[in-house]
Symmetry: C2
């Protein structure tokens, strides 16, 4: 699974730490997500989508290997 969190952050001019604070996780969690180190929980993706005012599907994308 891939995501475009970094792009959304850029649109809203937020740092990884900003985003982490707003959705209640650590900065490393955001960093790891952006670097595709792991798959976040659905609660996290819903919170991120809500924050950026777009759908989960507009941020997270399934890949063939998923």
């Amino acid at each position: 699974m891939k995501n475009n969190i970094k792009v959304q952050r850029a649109i809203y001019n937020m740092t990884q730490a900003d985003l982490a604070d707003k959705i209640g996780v650590s900065r490393q969690t955001i960093n790891a997500m952006e670097k595709n180190k792991y798959v976040p929980s659905t609660v996290l993706s819903l919170k991120i989508a809500r924050l950026f005012k777009i759908s989960v599907e507009e941020i997270f994308f399934l890949e063939d290997e998923d």
Copy 2:
């Protein structure tokens, strides 16, 4: 977080085992999700949404405590 997976299954007339097979998890995983025993990964919620031809937000709902 809550979900309406059971309703979607009913619409498509699928058993928990059917759904589990289609998205590649165990039947107990589906059962536990429906009973709100745990929060699925974003990969799972994307697969379920795709299967039911609706958005993640139409199946999974954040609650105040999330």
